[in-house]
């Protein structure tokens, strides 16, 4: 059993690849989303000849918010369908932020829709704002599919509440995640009242067809990419823990064996969501980056023991079955433009940088790695990095606190001093949020354009 994975054939082959920058599809996707929203508003516009009176205005505001919420909630689910175009091209981190943002917005729209519609009905019946509650009860009891919709809305509100920052931070990740899965039930339950009581869908068969198409497509994508694809992946590759290696105090590498792992299409810089079928770990899956280019028989992740889950990795016994979903993430070689590359790693953020350091195409002197850690003892994987640097003619630098605890100087000036042509580099970054922010500011100060700084952040 080798403890380092440097110098594999697969990795060497990748270094010979041509550099092919690929544009992120984010802009066309966002345009499509806006076009869809405009289409939904157009639907309302065409089916509403006039809006009369306060009651009419409020009811129609309820209809607009309802239509938009119905449209957006389908997209909120789609964002979490793990569609490769989103996960690998746009980037899992960016899509997750979109999801959080549009999710919050959608819940606000849903609540506005409920309130405005019920208020509008009350006004039309000659009642006042004070009767909204009674009106809601009546509507839920009497209108078709409204009972289901009420349950679904209740679920959405609960899911929204547990996703508020302070609540979520106090909750175990697994609990939060499993509550979140109820979104599917909520969306299913709220779908039917849109069709049966929605004016626009009652009047316009084409609109109804479009709505069924939208929700049907999202359902199909979720089933395909969240259920069927992982099952196929794991049946094909049958992964198991090969060994657990302590790299530095607190940082462990897990070697995972399996069949034809190079066929999974994973690239350096990407991650999988891992589920280890060991007692106490079965029910949670966590994203960890590959810390070496995948080999046909072996993958490696390197993890800092910070949470319950990552600490448990240390106790894994060889032979434990592994369930993986992926590969995900867009922090790959395809992000870079032609030219030199600077990799910046903070702490355990070295893992994707380590894989990229080995595989990014480039001639001698093109690739530089700057590794920040608390002390030289904490420089995990250092021996490997040194060997790769030797073989590739790449530059390897580290920055650690001085013995009296003083932080190293990473500023625009110091970066320019060390790397005089830094403004001609693409920069890949991985590390804690505060570190990444300060490095980002320093890089911008040193003249690196924002579009050439590539960073993945799972801070919401």
């Amino acid at each position: 059993m080798t403890t380092t994975l440097a110098g594999g054939r697969a990795a060497r082959r990748q270094t010979m690849r041509r550099i092919r920058p690929r544009r992120s599809p984010a802009v066309p996707l966002l345009l499509a989303v806006w076009a869809g929203a405009a289409g939904v508003l157009w639907l309302w516009w065409m089916n509403t000849p006039s809006v009369a009176g306060t009651g009419g205005r409020i009811l129609n505001a309820g209809r607009i918010t309802g239509l938009l919420a119905g449209y957006l909630i389908a997209l909120v689910v789609l964002q979490m369908a793990r569609v490769p175009a989103l996960e690998r091209r746009v980037g899992s981190d960016r899509v997750a932020r979109w999801h959080a943002m549009s999710g919050r917005y959608t819940i606000c729209l849903v609540l506005a829709h409920v309130f405005l519609t019920m208020w509008g009905y009350a006004l039309q019946a000659g009642k006042s704002l004070g009767d909204v509650v009674q009106q809601t009860v009546d509507s839920v009891e009497q209108l078709p599919d409204m009972g289901k919709a009420a349950v679904g809305t209740g679920l959405l509100v609960v899911i929204g509440l547990v996703s508020i920052g302070p609540v979520r931070r106090r909750m175990p990740y697994d609990t939060w995640y499993h509550v979140h899965l109820f979104t599917y039930a909520a969306v299913f339950l709220t779908f039917w009242h849109q069709i049966s009581t929605g004016n626009d869908f009652a009047v316009e068969p084409a609109a109804r067809t479009f709505w069924y198409g939208l929700y049907g497509a999202v359902t199909a994508l979720v089933l395909w990419y969240r259920v069927i694809t992982p099952i196929r992946l794991n049946l094909r590759h049958r992964m198991r823990v090969e060994a657990v290696i302590e790299e530095t105090p607190g940082i462990v590498s897990v070697l995972i064996g399996g069949r034809r792992l190079h066929r999974m299409g994973a690239e350096a810089g990407q991650f999988f969501r891992w589920r280890f079928l060991a007692p106490g770990m079965r029910f949670s899956s966590h994203p960890y980056s590959l810390s070496a280019a995948p080999r046909p028989d072996l993958l490696r992740i390197t993890v800092k023991a910070i949470g319950d889950h990552s600490a448990g990795l240390r106790e894994l016994t060889p032979g434990t079955r592994v369930w993986a979903e992926g590969p995900y993430g867009a922090l790959t070689a395809s992000r870079r433009s032609r030219g030199k590359v600077l990799l910046v790693a903070g702490g355990v953020g070295i893992t994707p940088m380590r894989a990229l350091f080995e595989t990014l195409p480039g001639a001698a002197g093109d690739i530089t790695l700057l590794y920040r850690a608390n002390s030289t003892q904490d420089l995990a994987l250092w021996d490997e990095l040194a060997r790769i640097a030797d073989e590739r003619g790449a530059r390897l630098m580290y920055a650690v606190n001085s013995p009296d605890g003083e932080r190293p100087d990473i500023s625009a000036e110091s970066l320019q001093r060390k790397i005089p042509d830094i403004d001609h580099h693409d920069v890949f970054m991985c590390g804690p949020a505060g570190f990444a922010q300060s490095v980002y500011d320093a890089l911008r100060g040193a003249g690196v354009p924002a579009r050439r700084i590539h960073h993945e952040s799972f801070e919401m």
């Binding site: 089916n47 000849p49 006039s50 009176g53 009905y121 039309q124 000659g126 009497q142 009581t197 009652a202």
Partner: protein, 296 residues
Amino acid sequence: MRKSHPIRRAVLAGAATVSGIVLLLSLKPSSGPAAASAAGAAAQQTAAGQESPQGGAQAAGGGTVTGTVAETQYGPVQVRLTVKDGKVVKADAVQAPKGGLSDQKTATAVPKLDQEAVAAQSARIDAVSGATYTSTGYKQSLQSALDRMKAGAAGSSGSASSGAKGTAGSGGSAGSRGSAGGKGSGVSSGSSAGSSSSGSASGAATARTVTGRTVQTQYGPVQVRITVKGGKIVEADAVQAPKGGLSSQKTAMAVPRLNKEAVAAGSAHIDAVSGATYTSGGYRQSLQSALDQAGG
């Protein structure tokens, strides 16, 4: 990497949404025809022009009466009654759900419902199990046909026009959604007795039928269709009204009254029928939009 300002973003998104919705609502006319609705009205007029008046005024002695279209989840249901000596001698569905499983259900349910209707002489008939929606729609349309039959008997009171209308009415009922005719013509013949027969005969040529927009109420959609002649409403009817359970009863009670009120008032300023405030509210709105279209 951008610094995010969650609060600022939330405020911006909220403000943009609110102003967008307010803008959309203010761009919609509160009354008066928009270009789109005028075009829609024109299309409905041509469609209405092709429909021959059908319905109940002739039913005093004998003939056929067609009920309103009841929209069900699986498609429209419309009942036609053949009346002789004030009694229903035959009932059949001119429209019933079609396609797939619906075909089978229609084939089994409709003959049973037809028989039940003739036997009961009222809309209090049992639903056919396995075809509850169709049964409910059938009962509604049947009720409206029965209402028309009675209104026709009261309104025409032995006038000579009943025979002429009878032949016109029995002609073009198949497939059309029409609920024109019916009580409305009964009322109009009452208001101007001298012109009643010529009015009914030439009605299809000169009268305009305008359908208001569908108004969602708590209990279901309401949509009013009016026939306008010489700038006056000569007939009003609900193409759609709340149905199912208690709603069907309320609709059966309220809609005929609202129809009469609309014709009498010539505007949407009509009293709500107590016990059916939602339907009345929706009716008034749909009526107003129909009047807007007719005026433009």
